[in-house]
């Protein structure tokens, strides 16, 4: 283990907690479920019609769960329904008496019922995501259910609303923190970066879910249980739009991946080069603590970094851009950037591609290229040296060669990140 590797450990990014952390979460959620169902079995179900209505809404929402960009799962309608059930004070003239155990049991059973059709068609349930959602609801229920009968809460909106709104925010934070922990383990990201990404991605949907939950809880007071369904409508619209957004985002990535291969088909670069460089670059970026949005730009740029070679009439033998002159490399990068810039929406990506052939520490007063460009430069050189070979010794030798050039050509931090990845065997 190198010095940098130790520093990495010492900063407290524990590594092999991947399975244990997730299973701990799932076990905790399972215990919650068992305890609450047992409690209901002993004490009996209170306010059956309300329980069935909210359980049905939760099951429906779980059935409609969606995948967000970045391999995330969300079930907005189920989440809002469960939170509303936890925060329910009154259904028209009847005070709501359900205890926290009943809230957890109804939520869990609703979620399981909604997950069944997914299982039936062969989409496995993501237990850790469901567990995270259940724990978040349980936190809100544990705090609010004892208060629900209290005169202060039952009296006026200006006392009830702040309490309920804070609980909604708390539940959201719990879910986000859990999700960030799971991602840290799964992707070897840094926790702080993962949490910031998670907060950013989940915020709009979280706001909509929280507001809808509050609306449902209050509307049940005036309009009864039917109103609950009405307030799920905006969430449904949001969900449809987000699903299509995630779909187009996925297609986008697939298309760029596919079109990046035209350089391979045309004989300009070795087969699989773009895919390998982009995978490596993203891993390096994550190792260096880049946030998710920047990683996406890095991935696009890495996939298209060789698109400029299309301007060459005759492919460079073997596509090794390290073998041609600096001027030639610049020209290719510049042309690639121009192609990307024509899309008018990827200017940052174009800039990364443009600066990819610049040395990490340029002579004179030129500003250093962006981190993403430095990463692509190193990843590209590494792949040109190693190719598709799986030999560890070759990878080690390649890192060693890059390290020799860290005085000007390659960014030392970037090369060290690469070296850690190679050591770990994740290249």
């Amino acid at each position: 283990m190198t010095v940098t590797g130790q520093r990495y450990e010492a900063r407290g990014y524990p590594r092999h907690r991947l399975d244990s952390g997730q299973s701990l979460l799932v076990i905790a959620a399972g215990l919650l479920l068992v305890a609450s169902v047992a409690g209901i079995a002993v004490g009996g179900l209170i306010d059956v019609s309300t329980a069935v209505a909210f359980g049905g809404l939760i099951a429906f929402g779980e059935l409609l769960r969606l995948n967000l960009p970045g391999d995330r799962e969300a079930a907005p309608i189920a989440g809002a329904g469960a939170l509303a059930y936890a925060l329910l004070v009154r259904v028209q003239d009847h005070p709501a008496h359900q205890g926290m155990q009943q809230v957890v049991a109804v939520t869990a059973i609703g979620m399981l019922i909604g997950a069944l059709p997914h299982l039936a068609v062969g989409r496995p349930a993501r237990l850790h995501a469901m567990a995270g959602r259940l724990v978040a609801v349980a936190v809100a229920a544990v705090i609010f259910r004892p208060l629900a009968g209290h005169a202060v809460i039952g009296g006026h909106w200006w006392t009830a609303l702040p309490v309920m709104a804070s609980l909604v925010i708390l539940a959201w934070l719990v879910e986000v923190v859990i999700a960030a922990l799971v991602r840290t383990d799964a992707l070897r990201a840094r926790y702080r970066v993962a949490l910031a990404d998670e907060l950013r991605v989940q915020l709009p949907l979280g706001v909509a879910i929280g507001a809808s939950a509050l609306l449902m809880a209050f509307a049940a007071e005036v309009m009864g249980l039917f109103a609950v369904a009405v307030f799920a409508a905006p969430l449904l619209v949001t969900q449809v739009a987000l699903r299509r957004f995630a779909g187009i985002r996925a297609t986008y990535l697939q298309t760029v991946r596919a079109l990046a291969r035209v350089t391979e088909i045309g004989g300009y670069v070795e087969a699989g080069h773009s895919a390998r460089v982009s995978k490596l670059a993203v891993a390096m970026g994550r190792e260096l603590g880049m946030p998710e949005a920047a990683l996406l730009e890095l991935e696009y740029a890495a996939l298209m970094h060789d698109i400029g070679q299309l301007s060459l009439r005759d492919p460079i033998p073997g596509g090794a851009t390290v073998l041609v002159t600096r001027e030639e490399q610049r020209r290719i990068a510049e042309y690639g950037a121009e192609v990307i810039q024509q899309a008018r929406v990827l200017d940052a990506v174009a800039d990364i591609v443009r600066r990819q052939s610049d040395p990490a520490r340029p002579a004179g007063r030129d500003p250093a290229p962006p981190l993403s460009s430095r990463i692509i430069r190193a990843a590209n050189a590494f792949d040109d040296l190693v190719g598709s070979s799986a030999e560890p010794s070759r990878a080690g030798a390649a890192v060693g060669r890059l390290r020799l050039d860290t005085a000007s050509e390659y960014d030392p931090d970037v090369v060290e990140a690469l070296s850690r990845l190679v050591e770990r065997g994740s290249v």
């Binding site: 209050f218 309009m223 297609t251």
Partner: protein, 463 residues
Amino acid sequence: MGKLSRVAWLYIAAVVTAATVVVACGPYGGVDWAQVITLGLLLAASESTATLLRSRSLAWSSSSVASLAAVVLAGPAGAALVACCTLLGIRRGPSPMQRLFNTAMYALSAYLAGEVYLLFGGHVGTPGPSSFPGIIGPYAAATVTHVAVNFALLQVVFWLAGEPSSAATGLNLKLLLTDLGYGALGVLIAALWKVLGPFTPVLVLIPLFVARWAVAQFAAQQRAYEATVSALCQAVETKDFYTRGHSERVSKGSVMIAKEIGMRTERVEAIRLAGMLHDVGKLGVPTAVLQKSGKLTDDEYAAVQLHPMRGLDIVRDIGFLDEALAGIMHHHERIDGRGYPMGLAGDEIPEFARVLSVADAFDAMTSTRSYSHARPVADAIAELRKWAGKQFDPAFVDAFVAAIDRDGWKGPEPVPDATAGADVAVPPPAPPPNGTASNGTPSNGTASSGTPSNGAPLITESL
């Protein structure tokens, strides 16, 4: 609105006067002023976030939500007063006169909606649990009235101002339905007032704003996607100087055919992509062969015949409809079975491929290639008809011709000099020697189909 006639001025004055009278006369007995102020702020906020409609002389906002909630909570005059907060909306665009008219129009719509609400037996005041479901009938009538009066007042002003009917086409059925749907929210706001007080509008509108945000995100992502695919396809085309803009035009032509024969929207989108990507496989064909002006040798022809399969290799992993993949793979098949790569015939050829082959051949004929000069649209149509049933599916040829007759066809910009292509190794978008042109406006003309250059003899805009 440009210069207005005297009648139009009189009309606007009448609307403003009527609104002023209504607001001035009240009655305001029993009105909760906190409610009126909250709803007025809500209305001003929705008016400030109005979206401009396509015709650009119309904008749509969700302000009717506040007016209609006020109908229930504060009665006709209170609703009219709330509607007057349109004046407070922060939105660039409307002139003071337009702003005044908009305000008066909303005030009158709200007032009349309030009267209709009373007429149908609605009660003014904060509704409680006992108000449901009795309130729904009168409220529905009020909503319809609000939308109808708003629509009518607008139509008349456009008519008097002599705006072309194109401005009024913005007022389509979908918009009216959206308005009615948003109107329904008003009753929810009114109903929740008892338990949530002035926070009601905030809470009700948050999920709606997030929904609008999500829809906008989706639309932006889709535009970004299309722009990126188009830019990458152009990069591929630079290899063959003569085929610039070909993919984009084939895509456009295929979409014209697809729409003409009534394909579903998702399939139209898929064929748009398929048209864009149908020739990516040409990257595998040596440049010298692509640009050869003489007859191809057997080996060279074999290399060309491989390109649909290579294209399929590239796009196989993109998650769009399998149909699009089949279209790319088979776009050089012929109805009589003499095409490549499989020699399929008739209905064996996937529908997408039959569509693409018509648009592909048409664009090839109307643009200059290394082996031929561009031909006029009329000639190309005649040629399509001649080969319908042999090379092309006659149904799609008919659909394409019908679409071109109606919408016209924008061909390529002419190649400056057909001989110039021969010695240009790197075509015009060649990178500058250093980074000077780095703020890269597209240096070749293919970014958009652009305007047809003058002197282009082949471009027709038949109507």
